[in-house]
Symmetry: C2
Subunit: 644 residues, 2 copies
Amino acid sequence: MREAMVIFQPSGRRGKVPLGETLIEASRRLGVDIESLCGEKMSCGKCKVRIDEGKANLTGFQGEEEKFISSAEKREGLRLACAAKIKGDVLVFVPEESRASRQVIRKAATKRRIKIDPAVRLYPLTLREASLEDPQGDFERLSHALEGRYGLRDMTLDVEVLRSLGTVMREGNWEITASVWNSREVIRIRPGKVTEAYGLAIDIGTTTVAGYLCSLVTGEVLTTHALMNPQVTYGEDVMSRITYHMMHPNDGLHKMSQAIVDALNSLVENMVEETSLTPDDIEDMTIVGNTVMHHILLQINPEYVGTAPFPPAIHHSIDVKARDMEIRINPSSYVHVLPIEAGFVGADNVGVLIAEEPYKKKHTSLVIDIGTNGELVLGNRERLMSSSCATGPALEGAQLTFGMRAAPDAIERVVIDPQTHEVNFKVVGRDEWSQYSRPGEIKAKGICGSAVLDILAELYRTGIILRSGAFSKTQESNRYRVTKKDNQPEFVIAWKEETSIGRDITISLKDIRQIQLAKGAIYTGCKLMMRKMGIDKVDRIILAGAFGSYVDPDKALIIGMIPDCDLKNIYSVGNAAGDGARIALLDRNKRAEADRIANQVEYIELTVEEDFQREFIDSLQLPHMKDTFPHLKGIVPDDILNPQ
Amino acid sequence: MREAMVIFQPSGRRGKVPLGETLIEASRRLGVDIESLCGEKMSCGKCKVRIDEGKANLTGFQGEEEKFISSAEKREGLRLACAAKIKGDVLVFVPEESRASRQVIRKAATKRRIKIDPAVRLYPLTLREASLEDPQGDFERLSHALEGRYGLRDMTLDVEVLRSLGTVMREGNWEITASVWNSREVIRIRPGKVTEAYGLAIDIGTTTVAGYLCSLVTGEVLTTHALMNPQVTYGEDVMSRITYHMMHPNDGLHKMSQAIVDALNSLVENMVEETSLTPDDIEDMTIVGNTVMHHILLQINPEYVGTAPFPPAIHHSIDVKARDMEIRINPSSYVHVLPIEAGFVGADNVGVLIAEEPYKKKHTSLVIDIGTNGELVLGNRERLMSSSCATGPALEGAQLTFGMRAAPDAIERVVIDPQTHEVNFKVVGRDEWSQYSRPGEIKAKGICGSAVLDILAELYRTGIILRSGAFSKTQESNRYRVTKKDNQPEFVIAWKEETSIGRDITISLKDIRQIQLAKGAIYTGCKLMMRKMGIDKVDRIILAGAFGSYVDPDKALIIGMIPDCDLKNIYSVGNAAGDGARIALLDRNKRAEADRIANQVEYIELTVEEDFQREFIDSLQLPHMKDTFPHLKGIVPDDILNPQ
């Protein structure tokens, strides 16, 4: 069977699919949720996707598509995913509005109000022509005009600009436009009057890289692109990339750095192609990323930040000439890399902070950024503290017996009937839950991250496990058993017949302990910080990062992963780090604010806190049901909430 | 006959010589003056030269040489020029003390008193080791230490330094030395305590490039190297290089720029090799050069500075990262290019100014920097003005009927007997004057620059020409004649038998007019500036540049090229531009001073001055003898000074 490679963005999910399948069929196969109300009959128009690469590798545009796709959208590359059949490799972007929505409150990034005060501004000028009476140098002519007309004093200019200055002035017949960085350095000069300038905000995640191309004049986002971080070849998580560097001291760092720089350059190329700009038209750039991504990008040895006491190479933001990073935008431009709070609280977290601004609020916010490492920020306008906790990969499903990544046929949601203890689950790439599927239709492969909290919460809510995490001995479910081989208690999530792996998919006591360790680490961090702050309740909990976007707040409360908080004040902010990069791009005051905040925030090293060990052990327990009662009414059955 | 290429520095004279000749024989052939008192018998030791390239292309070190050359000098490559015979190509440097001296007062560059306050300073530090209690970033640890220990605030650091910071700190076991540029940017970091730093001062001439490698700690000059400016391939003077760029718009500028950058890099390599340093050990660099050299080096289009109104691309000094200029010293270091006063008054002139400091003196100095273009600076601590005058190449001998460059057998000195009008001359490469030579021994080829003023002054002093420059009709010399072909009056300097060209070498009225135009241009410039300054006499005249070093002040006075001044207050400062570069390297205050002076100096465009034309015509005349009398007593015979 002939196949093609299909990649869906922004999720980054990818895989080989048989030629002739529609994009929506491929999306299901790869675990990407695309909205489809009409059952793929080209009649609802909800499954619009944008083809970023390989337009010619799809079957032709159909008449039905024209009802939903304007000619402008057509030029942008939009198609109905149910209409376009795959003939070869394609890169598909699924717009926000076409994604099948999850039960998560998500702030739309584009709706943030951002002040427009960019670091790079345009200054059109009409210069006096050089003459024998006024033979001053080209640069002095320019800087005097900038001072006279705009009050900009003590200008410098980049040597690359100096090289073309005289020619551009004369080409423009003494009418020019100067791009000035931070009111102090001329970084570009063009003939005539120019009114548009552009910048690029980048969020470098361990797995995904996202870019936002923005107008520096209006603040508008012209286009958003995402791609896989090509460093995944060198390790799935940050620690394995540090290890790769240490195992390849000669070229490991350089290879990883080159990979991300190449990725940024191809991101730039794709974005400028789409918008008919040139790379030089990108005159400013901001970057956020965790500390290790930050270090690798800048070719900084990441070894020390990976071992105690985890000092980063630098906290402060840094402005590096694009050419010094080999990033192909306007070569005289600077790339602004946001500051780092602490070893494991990186520029991505700073991005979240300047986007959410907990330090400006009277009420106290708790920001939880969950990944392989948990980053916590707690505070208000009086005080701000941060810490990090080693959650391990259990919350992403990685270390569980049947754990797997969010790929097709991974179990992603789980509900357990409190009476019968029957399990109803859903797999990635299939709409019907197991309860509504016929035998043989479901072929589960394993358990992915988004099901992990479901399982722990459901097992506890239904009384299958106790507060300690141990299985209740009084239960009668036939799904509970103790393995003969190693005497391990376990609970069956999917029977052999519902899988494609030929055996039951179970959750073992050992798995439950892993999850408890992870949730306990987060809870301990939150609790110790709250104690240090002298509070016992937070006003608001912000869940950031990829994991944050599929955590159900109620589940997190049930298992005691997060401290008590009104459910309506718990929300996920999706890619707030990327929003932070965009905010810093458009408003230079926010760059200074980021440095100030990164410097002010008190970093708490949890492991050296008094009582850390005891608190951590305590936190492994699941909370008393009644403790979480007020918010869980209606979610947890009354007889469980108020046992006789 | 097999030959080898021999190049003598710092004169840059070069040519093919037969194998087997000694270096001193070759020097004579190529017109280089090397002192030799013993007649090449290896017994006076005056002809020491340094072999910069091709040591193996000379015959072996001889026993006699050891009497004069210490083993340390031997390692440096010193030889006696009369002992070493040529077996292949060599690059020879003739030290100041081995040059056959000319009648010119020369200030030894190394004797200037320079304050040592370099832009790059070393700061040894002992840091506190990172710990869980103090996990701050490496850069913050460094900058806090720099502030705490040395009071340096708001430090930044170059991204290249950041890349190695963590490793170097740990390599040095938290003892490190930071190199800081201008008290604000860390440009290098090394483990342990380092106490030596080095810098390089460069003077880029149109023909020659000179480099001074200095200790930034003691100010000592470790070594001086010079080489030809390889751009000579693209044109002998600045205008022809501008033309080359205009005729080759695609790559002309790039080629010339690459040529000089390559030359600087090989200069660096040779110097660090000699001193056992590495290129990275050069942590600072200053450059002076005329405006066109400045522009080409920085890859700035030199077209506009070559055409009216001659605006340079920039007046202000500029600091460019070495790596952005592809100059291979410490890559994070800056190259400081000194400012430009006006289109034709370049950074080399600024170098002369900060070396001579006329702006600090109560008395009024006139600085005359003569080349193809004359650059004039007049002033004192109250006021400073500059101008440039187009002298043309006549003073260098280039446009005269028998003009040639200073190559072997060029007439370089001329004396005329006031009674007999007999001519006694000397050619390059031969010690004996014509008067003391036997027929056939002298084979003059033409007239070079250093003889030009001699000839005009001697013709006038002896009454052969009149004040107007025209030949006296009453003279009876058989050397005076009018050509039949074009009715041109001329005077024979060398008879056919004394030449190798088979005809008399003469100076024609047309030649005299050329010289008058050149000297008149300089005198007019001086006079108009003095008028603007409101003075009729200057206290001091400083002759700078290559031509300045072979101008006899008395001759210049006789022909009225320079205004009246006490002979003892007229002196040549040799390569004062290079001294200026060295001063700026060692004392950063002088950089600011240079920018201030370059900005303050009033540039006078002579050609738009009132009366310019009339003054210029007047200045073509030769001065009344009695006007120059007081200083010329004993130089000009009394009967000429006081004609009956």
